[in-house]
Amino acid sequence: MLRNHSRETAVALLFVLPFVLIYGVLFLWPTVQMVLLSFTDAPLIGPGKWIGIENYVEMFDDRRFWTSVRNTAYFVALTVIPNTLIGLAIAMMVSRLKGWQQSIILAMFFLPYILPVSVVYRIWNWMFNLQFGIMQYPLTWIFGEATPVFRTQWMFMPAVAFVTIWWTCGFNILLFLSGLRSISTDIYEAAALDNASRWTIFRRITWPLIWPVTALVLTIQLILQLKIFDQVYLFVQGGRPDPSMVLVQYIYNQAFQKNEGGYAAAVSVALFVIVIVFSVLQFQFLRARGEK
């Protein structure tokens, strides 16, 4: 049968069109606009004058921008790998359970993930409360006195990272669990007959076979944590925002508090580039490792 190729192409275009339109209107267009905005001195709302790369020149000289970059990197270091490893460890424990026990334990670990960040903030602000917080018992034991965790500079980021891991690791557990389930029990049985110890089974069977999931989780985490905002913003309330400023918070600060739309757009472009470069690099690196 002869096929009408131009007709097929037309039909294909017709089917792709809605996505292309939505993608263009909701992603490409705003992105282009943001880049253009970054070359102007626009306020938060409304147009501005074209000023070339002045915003970028200013940014490279901006102490608070570099503080934000450093803090964001620090937060990424504190969360991405620990969150992934903890997720895997808990998933391996949960996967040993069967039936309803597994469901209940899994639900317990997953529950925090469904909470909105404001609730997470409230819970942990209370947990760490100087006068009434239950976490003050271990903290007092360690430091000899009640400790205002979110008001103590060096503790702030680790504490927020801890809360973030508590909040989000349920999702990673779920991903890892489905990864673990996809490894056939036969393979473990074969390994048991092959004299493999538990550690050998983990190192030579589970870890390599779960690697694609691990790479995925690491990449998702990296992108997510580079965009950290809510938790830092909430926990710093009533405290000292600058030393723990992260990039998105700085963008918010510039755009909404200082009405510097153009400059905020420049910082956004910088963050956009950082996210793309790092996630692509990481994903390539992880994939290469997986194929080794």
Binding site: I45, G46, Q153, Q237, G239, F256, K258
Partner: protein, 425 residues
């Protein structure tokens, strides 16, 4: 019978639609929660009752500070702002610069009897920018010193009239705190974390030394003012260091320390007067309270002050109808003329006839501290200043840490100066 009811219901519905059309709805946003929020709601209800069938205020209360002002700015820019809103006069420069406010003409104001004549001059001018009026003052609010009469009496710090004595002068104040230490967990409670009270106390102490925060030439902390600022910060830090005031305490915690009777003195805004009054009225306070103007620590009396005012957002692409504008002006005017009720919330009315009325002059504790209005120092006029501004942020970043000993006072002022200067340029 059924038909009759149907007709009755229908006609009632039609009537009420007719009434709604005749009345002008005024969408109102404010940031007033807590004790003064309750009083504002009562005022609004009274207004709506008096103007039944003509004007209806539809109030919404949003969160104070950055959330409120961010929402105002973004919603005005797309024509979705309210018809009228409360606004800090300290924030007018920033509000005008970011295009969030619509000017109000002198003719419009005089049509409802409002002009510079019925307000204190400084107060009225605070609502202006480059000659145009953007906000109408409603009150002057400041910080005051709340005290626990029982504890002060115990420590021998009350005079014959039952008012606190011996608190003026930085050293005397510290000595008084020392005396109060025996009877209190913390003799002085105040917010020692973030912005807010630390700024207000700092600015008062700074003003008592005639410090200049922002010079005409745009310099923050000109050289001769730096030692004054350092001295103010050092004084505040000494309260925490000496164990008189709690470290790293947030706003709510500082109020609770006083209301629970654990602190003898409490530095906070006049807007907490209703909290004390309501608790005392319910018999839940457990002690007798009072409030006086902030003591004079240095050269002369001076207290930080700001004003709540009314402003009309610059709703882009949404022209206000003359009827709507008339209704909004009526709201602003009526509120000022009935501001005695607002004084109940601790504030000092901006409207001179109210402020000079016999009722206000005898209202307690306002009467005791209303002297502060004469020596008030208002926030610097700058797009970097005002509620939820970079100056407020800088306080959280430098002054509060210095109060808690995380930064030296000199270091804090130097860094704050550099930071603000950096942002101004």
């Amino acid at each position: 019978m059924k038909t009759f009811f149907k007709i009755a219901m229908l006609s009632t519905a039609l009537l009420s639609i007719g009434a709604a059309q005749a009345a002008e709805d005024v969408v109102w946003w404010d940031f007033l929660s807590g004790g003064d929020g309750v009083r504002m709601k009562a005022l609004i209800e009274q207004f709506n009752t008096e103007h039944a069938g003509e004007i209806t205020i539809q109030p919404t209360t949003l969160e104070w500070g950055t959330p409120f002002y961010t929402k105002v700015q973004t919603s005005a820019a797309i024509g979705e702002g309210p018809d009228v809103m409360t606004y800090h006069l300290s924030r007018v420069p920033l509000g005008v610069a970011s295009g969030a406010l619509a000017p109000i003409s002198a003719e419009d104001l005089s049509s409802v009897g409002l002009s510079g004549d019925v307000f204190a001059p400084a107060n009225w001018e605070a609502g202006q920018s480059e000659g145009a009026q953007y906000a109408v003052p409603f009150d002057i609010h400041s910080i005051i010193l709340y005290y626990n009469k029982d504890k002060l009496a115990e420590a021998g710090l009350l005079d014959a009239n039952g008012l606190p004595t011996g608190l003026d002068g930085a050293e005397n104040f510290t000595a008084a705190l020392e005396k109060l230490k025996a009877g209190s967990e913390y003799p002085l409670s105040l917010q020692t974390s973030g912005d807010g009270t630390p700024w207000r106390v700092f600015y008062s102490l700074f003003g008592q030394q005639d410090g200049t925060f922002l010079a005409e030439d745009g310099t923050f902390f000109p050289d001769e003012s730096i030692p004054k600022a350092v001295k103010a910060v050092e004084t505040m830090a000494s309260w925490v260091e000496g164990g008189y005031a709690p470290a790293l305490t947030e706003y709510e915690g500082s109020v609770a320390l006083f209301t629970s009777g654990e602190s003898a003195l409490h530095l906070n805004g006049v807007w907490e007067v209703p909290t004390m009054a309501d608790l005392a009225a319910k018999g839940e306070l457990g002690f007798e309270w009072g409030a006086v103007a902030v003591p004079t620590f240095f050269d002369h009396p001076a207290t930080w002050a700001d004003s709540h005012g009314f402003a009309i957002p610059n709703n882009v692409g949404k022209e206000m109808t003359p009827e709507k504008k008339a209704a909004v002006l009526e709201v602003i005017s009526w509120m000022n003329k009935n501001s005695l009720a607002w004084a109940n919330a601790g504030h000092i009315p901006a409207y001179t006839p109210t402020r000079e009325s016999e009722e206000f002059k005898t209202m307690q504790p306002n009467a005791t501290y209303s002297v502060l209005a004469d020596t008030a120092v208002f926030d610097p006029k700058s797009v970097l200043a005002g509620v939820a501004s970079p100056v407020y942020d800088a306080v959280a970043n430098y002054i509060s840490p210095a109060m808690n000993g995380e930064l030296g006072a000199q270091e804090a002022i130097d860094e704050m100066k550099a930071d603000l200067q950096d942002q101004a340029d």
